[in-house]
């Protein structure tokens, strides 16, 4: 099993969480921070193995919660709840279509924060939610949807540029070539 893809996905998750905590551009311009982990989970669920999907949920969730006032571990389950069903049914999904990636990214980016907030409320926490949260939810959904095809394209480019290329079997084999010519006696 090649470790290139899991390392690439987890490194991207690490940098994405760091970027979300330090870059406040989307928060200043749109009033909400866009979370890239759900979009990344869609990519992992459609292209990586179950170990990578699980590691992304656990490590991504841990990294996200370590910067946040969330209880540690609360983001793990929503991320995995999005990634696991998609992983199980990924053969039925047209993963190469940007529109399919967009729709899946939007759904994941809407579901993950909603489930996280539900878990927080269920755990007795008081997250800051009100009518204004609907706007933030819409921004997160739209941002995650837009980010998903970009992540697919980025990982596709990284795979081509940095990963090992799959050897394609050629129809022509020199050792099986029938040579025509004069029969030497």
């Amino acid at each position: 099993m090649s470790l290139f893809q899991p390392i690439l996905i987890l490194s991207f998750a690490f940098l994405a969480v760091f970027g979300e905590a330090t870059l406040s551009g989307p928060r200043d311009w749109l009033g909400a921070q866009i979370d890239l982990l759900p979009a990344l989970m869609i990519y992992a669920a459609l292209n990586a193995d179950i170990v990578t999907v699980s590691l992304l949920a656990v490590l991504g969730g841990l990294w996200f919660d370590s910067f946040s006032a969330n209880p540690l571990g609360v983001t793990i389950l929503p991320l995995f709840a999005v990634g696991f069903p998609i992983y199980l049914r990924r053969d039925l999904i047209l993963r190469q279509l940007p529109f399919a990636q967009l729709v899946l990214g939007a759904a994941a980016s809407a579901i993950v924060p909603a489930v996280t907030v539900l878990l927080l409320l269920n755990g007795g926490k008081q997250p800051l939610i009100g009518w204004g949260s609907l706007w933030q939810w819409a921004v997160m959904t739209a941002g995650g949807a837009a980010a998903t095809p970009i992540i697919f394209a980025l990982f596709g480019w990284c795979g081509t540029a940095l990963g090992y290329q799959q050897q394609t079997e050629m129809g022509f084999r020199p050792d099986r070539e029938i040579r025509h010519g004069k029969i030497l006696k």
């Binding site: 749109l30 997250p127 800051l128 204004g132």
Partner: protein
């Protein structure tokens, strides 16, 4: 076998999540700090990257502009020195009067400057991380301010960084007093119709005011000193509008904060 592997992964992830969520608060906080420390090398890189354009800009600044800036700073410095002398005289007089009346003397504030290094990536909390920790003497519940006014309080302390919960977060409630004749008392909470949204962060609510509170737009709001966390007299913001609630049994007001919580770069941690 294929299915078994998937369900093993499902079981492992659920087990890890439940284990983490059921950790005691102290262990969870320590683990959080340990996981957060993985990012320390990136903070160093980000700091250097941010410093680079500033250094480049400094190196190409004209000499005339620098001299002009020095002149302005000297003038400001002179004014501040005069104000400091006046303040010291007023403080001495205040101490003397307090002694004569038998009141306890006020301890002067000590401040420590901190850089805001990151913000909460989750949209449903209002917290930031600062680059001061327990090795700098930071403790939980210390007030955090800017030159404009109150920002929040320290909620968790690591070795080299701390988490500050900002005004407007549900876990940062501040006892406040309105600067009017009746000195109406209330509590700054995270409520309001726009709570959670981008505007809600800078417009928290002053709740639990008396029904007879005389609220007018533009009135200043300060910390009341009640509750023991925030000292008395730190400016918080101004009233935008006030209204009766609970069928006229109480009042509440919407507050425009003095400090711009969306653009915090440096803050002061207050030591009592």
């Amino acid at each position: 076998m294929f299915k078994q592997k998937n369900y093993l992964a499902l079981g492992a992830v659920v087990f890890v999540a439940v284990l983490l969520l059921s950790l005691p608060t102290r262990a969870s906080a320590r683990l959080k700090l340990a996981v957060g420390s993985w990012f320390l090398p990136l903070f160093g890189l980000a700091g250097a990257a941010q410093q680079l354009p500033a250094d480049l800009a400094d190196s190409v600044l004209p000499r005339r502009e620098l001299l002009h800036e020095i002149d302005n700073l000297r003038r400001d410095n002179q004014q501040l020195r005069e104000q400091q002398i006046q303040s010291a005289a007023i403080a001495r007089e205040n101490d003397q009067l307090r002694t004569e009346l038998g009141w306890q003397r006020l301890a002067p504030w000590r401040l420590k400057l901190a850089n805001v290094v990151m913000r909460d990536p989750a949209n449903w909390w209002r917290t930031v991380q600062i680059d001061l920790g327990s090795r700098d003497g930071i403790q939980t519940n210390q007030p955090v301010i800017t030159a404009e006014g109150l920002v929040g309080r320290v909620s968790a302390v690591g070795l080299v960084s701390s988490q500050v919960v900002l005004i407007g977060d549900p876990s940062c409630r501040v006892s406040a007093v309105v600067d009017n004749a009746a000195r109406d008392l209330g509590v700054i909470t995270a409520g309001g119709p726009l709570a959670g949204g981008p505007l809600g962060a800078s417009l928290p609510e002053l709740s639990y005011l008396a029904s007879s509170a005389n609220l007018k737009p533009g009135q200043d709001v300060f910390t009341s000193g009640l509750g023991g966390v925030f000292p008395k007299g730190i400016p918080i913001g101004k009233i935008i509008y006030g209204q009766s609630v609970e069928g006229g049994l109480a009042s509440e007001a919407s507050i425009k904060l003095n400090a711009n919580l969306g653009a915090l770069e440096q803050v002061w941690v207050l030591f009592k």
